[in-house]
């Protein structure tokens, strides 16, 4: 059902000419794809992009084709629109097995999810690019998601924010337009993509954004780390804390600030009120550290001290607020107010104290206060599973804190569906482990119906599950290769994964030497051990670890141990003990071989199918050791309809570990640590 549009929505403006025709042909023969949600999903669907002559691009900037695999969740759909906007024209959209995302233009080519369809679609796409890469008047892509809200602020009074142009009620100045970058709605979209700069035609003058960001984070974070103040600062600066908090409060009025500020605003407020009671004080205009309760002259320069009411002190002296309201994100695109404000500040003090700007900053691992930068990684980041969005606060190359969220989390609050549909839906919702969840659903439904397990069926199912485990671990290896630019590993593991997915027992047994040599080679690859050893060790006493992650830290956590069928097959659990990324790699190696042994004993894999049920009502619970760990499904069905579902999966537990794993690590190590968990954002339940 491969179908192609007649013109290319993402054509580049330009009258067709011979030269442009050549370029189009070059583009067609050099398809670089940005895969959404990610290359690992395409692989799990059995798609071999290399065979279709497509290259996987690391960034949207380098991609010609936006390749969408399967249905996208609402959030991922919006993130994809931003990615699409970042791709340089000419660009094309190829949708495989799903409806075209609503926020994008219509797909240029769409096809089913299969290798043959992919090949055919690629050919169509090539023809389309070769002929229509340039158009005299291409469509604009201007999705509502990309629309930054424009708002109007007073250059002097940051708290004055209006939706319409006009003049400031306080000072009467004309309001200046700016993008509502930090606005909660727009801000969220902006964070959803992995580049800060979507391109929709804004070219502003200059280079100053880094700086802004830094100041933002100074303020966004200093309360989190408030306890460190005493360590690093003399008490003579004590009163100054209050000022910074004042800014924060002040900033709170302004709706352009960071979520972090909101969280900690109250805290800051309390501290400041405690200190505000001191009343009027006298400070030296040149030496901000000189403060007295009574008038006099400065002991350092002899100037007369000026009266100074803390309530009125909006931190003007420090010259800080202008930075605060002016940037926040890369998106608040204007610097005018910043300049205006700083002029204003210079008039009053002439000097901006670095001590005051830096004193409340949290310190890096080496004790220096550094620029903090909140950077989104994902949801389509080359080194992370697609659909997983990691927000890291970077301090140079180090991560100070981070958190992971899934944009493709499964929603279990379902309406009533027929049992058959439910099984299909659950399997489709978990593209990285469809067989495991199909099996889980079948078992739960059968149990609800009161069916006893049938050893013959269970054998085939166990073989299918183990085959999927091998494929899934190989997919993880390919992902590791992508993360570490280990091209050989990516190619080899991906090729083996594709072979494993559809293999029967004979073929799997035939793959044994190939798998063994892959594993032996990996364990002796120079640099790999150094790269993984000691990385991603979990804090002691981490609760609820499952699957390979648990077993790699020496826990005997495996649902297969309790399974009579596995006992019959001679299953024996083996575990590593170090609990770091290297142990996880070795654990997965061990499991690949164990699973291969199990398939060899169990026979041909059979896709789990629901057995005939005579009693279609009741409550059932089943547990399956999925490739990523134990998953438990509890469901209630009435007359062949599933009415309520409760899913407890490994990834829902593991995603919570990310914050601990990344904190204080170098960026590369943090990403390796997150990768070593083998998170599948699809299996996170919301």
């Amino acid at each position: 059902m491969s179908e192609a549009a007649t013109t290319l929505a993402g054509a580049r403006k330009g009258r067709p000419s011979i030269l442009r025709r050549w370029v189009g042909q070059a583009l067609a023969r050099n398809l670089s794809c940005l895969v959404v949600p990610g290359p690992e999903v395409a692989l799990a669907h059995g798609l071999d992009l290399a065979a279709a002559d497509m290259r996987i691009a690391a960034t949207p900037r380098d991609a010609t084709v936006l390749l969408i695999v399967g249905e996208l969740s609402q959030k991922l759909d919006e993130a994809t629109a931003v990615l699409y906007a970042q791709m340089p024209r000419p660009r094309a959209i190829l949708v495989l097995g799903g409806s075209a995302p609503s926020s994008l233009p219509q797909a240029d080519v769409s096809a089913d999810l299969s290798q043959t369809e992919l090949m055919e679609a690629a050919t169509r796409l090539q023809r389309l690019l070769a002929e229509d890469a340039f158009a005299a008047s291409p469509d604009d892509f201007d999705s509502s998601i990309l629309q930054a809200k424009t708002e109007y602020v007073c250059p002097m009074h940051p708290e004055v924010v209006e939706d319409e142009p006009g003049s400031c009620p306080k000072c009467g100045m004309d309001l200046v337009a700016r993008e509502a970058g930090g606005d909660s709605d727009a801000g969220e979209h902006d964070h959803d993509h992995d580049h800060e700069h979507e391109h929709h035609g804004h070219e502003h003058d200059h280079d100053h954004e880094h700086e802004s960001e830094e100041h933002d984070h100074h303020h966004a974070h200093h309360n989190d780390h408030g306890q460190s103040h005493e360590h690093h600062h003399d008490h003579e600066h004590h009163q100054n804390h209050k000022r910074a908090h004042d800014h924060e409060q002040h900033q709170g009025d302004d709706d352009h600030e960071h979520a972090h500020c909101h969280e900690h605003e109250d805290h800051g407020h309390q501290q400041s009120t405690a200190q505000e009671q001191s009343g009027t004080e006298y400070i030296c205009p040149m030496h901000p550290e000189i403060r007295q309760n009574e008038p006099g002259s400065c002991p350092k320069c002899g100037m007369d001290l000026e009266p100074h009411k803390p309530e009125e002190d909006e931190g003007v002296r420090e010259g800080v607020p202008e930075h605060d309201h002016e940037h926040h994100h890369d998106h608040s695109g204007h610097d005018h107010d910043g300049h205006d404000h700083s002029d204003h500040d210079h008039d009053s003090s002439g000097f901006m104290s670095m001590v005051e700007v830096t004193k409340d900053l949290p310190r890096s691992a080496d004790g220096l206060a550094m620029d903090w930068l909140e950077v989104p990684f994902g949801p389509c980041f080359p080194g992370l599973p697609g659909g997983l969005k990691l927000t890291l606060t970077l301090d140079g190359d180090g991560v100070t804190e981070g958190q992971a969220t899934s944009l493709v989390a499964m929603n279990t609050s379902s309406e009533e569906v027929a049992v058959e549909t439910f099984i299909e839906r659950l399997a489709a919702a978990m593209p990285l482990a469809p067989v495991s969840y199909r099996l889980l659903a079948c078992r739960a439904i059968e149990q609800a119906a009161g069916l006893e397990p049938d050893p013959a069926v269970e054998r085939g199912r166990a073989a299918a599950l183990e085959r999927e485990r091998i494929a899934s671990h190989l997919g993880w290896l390919a992902q590791l290769g992508r993360q570490l630019s280990f091209v050989w590993l990516t190619r080899r593991a991906a090729a083996l994964q594709l072979e494993t997915q559809r293999a029967d027992r004979e073929q799997l047994v035939a793959l044994r030497p190939a798998l063994q040599s892959l594993i032996a080679r990996l364990e002796h690859t120079p640099l790999l051990k150094a790269r993984l050893k000691g990385i991603g060790a979990l804090p002691h006493g981490s609760q609820d670890l499952r699957g390979p992650v648990a077993r790699a830290s020496g826990r005997t956590e495996d649902a297969r141990q309790a399974d009579a069928m596995y006992r019959e097959l001679g299953f024996e659990m083996r575990a590593e003990s170090a609990g770091d990324a290297w142990a996880r790699l070795r654990q997965r190696h061990v499991e690949i071989m164990t699973s291969l042994d199990l398939v060899e004993v169990a026979g041909d894999p059979e896709l789990p199918k629901l057995r005939a049920i005579d009693n279609p009502s009741g409550t059932g619970e089943a547990t399956v050791e999925t490739p990523r760990g134990r998953a438990t499904l509890r469901l209630t069905q009435e007359r062949g309809q599933v009415v309520s579902v409760e899913l407890d999966s490994a990834c829902s537990q593991h995603i919570g570990l990310v914050a601990d794993l990344v904190e204080g690590q170098e960026l590369g190590d943090a990403l390796v640590a997150v990768g070593s968990l083998d998170l599948s954002p699809w299996e996170v339940t919301s």
Partner: protein, 188 residues
């Protein structure tokens, strides 16, 4: 001679231009790189004055040195991007005066001194490199060794000063090694 005068003049102007740009731009990275290009232009002046070894050495050393300068600028400035448009200077009038007087004095010395006879021909580059080597490891051995020891001491001292008292830092060590790095190059 005319060609030489032309190149010395052009690179001299470039050195001065970039040198002034250092203090006129608000962006710290631009400032550090302007200094780099100023120093590189000085290196090119050396080349124009047929001091090939020194010129190449200057060009090489300054690249690393000023890049490290750039990262320190970004680290230690409140406003590395220059967004705030803040003025990071003081006693401006006095400084301009001092600079002008210093330059004027030096210029008048340059113009009104009798520099004696000018040597038209310089030894060729290969000869120079060779002779400099003999100078360095012969007559000026002591100077050379003293410079090396000074650098080593400075490296150790700077690192010792920079290392935090409580927990040894990762970044700090890295950056100080950077300085050491250049110094070893210099000592060669």
């Amino acid at each position: 001679m005319v060609v030489q005068a032309f190149f010395v003049g052009v690179f001299g102007l470039a050195a001065i231009g970039f040198g002034v740009a250092v203090f006129r731009t608000a962006s710290m990275v631009r400032s550090a790189l302007a200094l780099l290009f100023s120093q590189a232009a000085v290196g090119c002046m050396f080349l124009a004055m047929q001091a090939e070894f020194l010129g190449v050495l200057q060009i090489m050393m300054m690249a690393t040195e000023m890049s490290i300068m750039a990262i320190f600028m970004v680290m230690f400035m409140m406003d590395p991007g220059g967004l705030g448009g803040m003025d990071m200077s003081h006693q401006k009038r006095f400084s301009i005066g001092a600079g002008a007087i210093a330059a004027a004095t030096a210029i008048s010395v340059a113009l009104f001194s009798d520099w004696g006879p000018i040597v038209a021909e310089a030894p060729d580059a290969a000869m120079q490199t060779r002779e400099l080597g003999f100078e360095m490891l012969g007559r000026s051995m002591l100077v050379f060794e003293t410079a090396a020891i000074t650098i080593l001491t400075a490296m150790i001292a700077a690192t010792a000063v920079a290392i935090p008292v409580r927990q040894p830092g990762v970044d700090t060590g890295k950056l100080d090694k950077g300085n050491g790095d250049k110094e070893q190059e210099a000592s060669k």
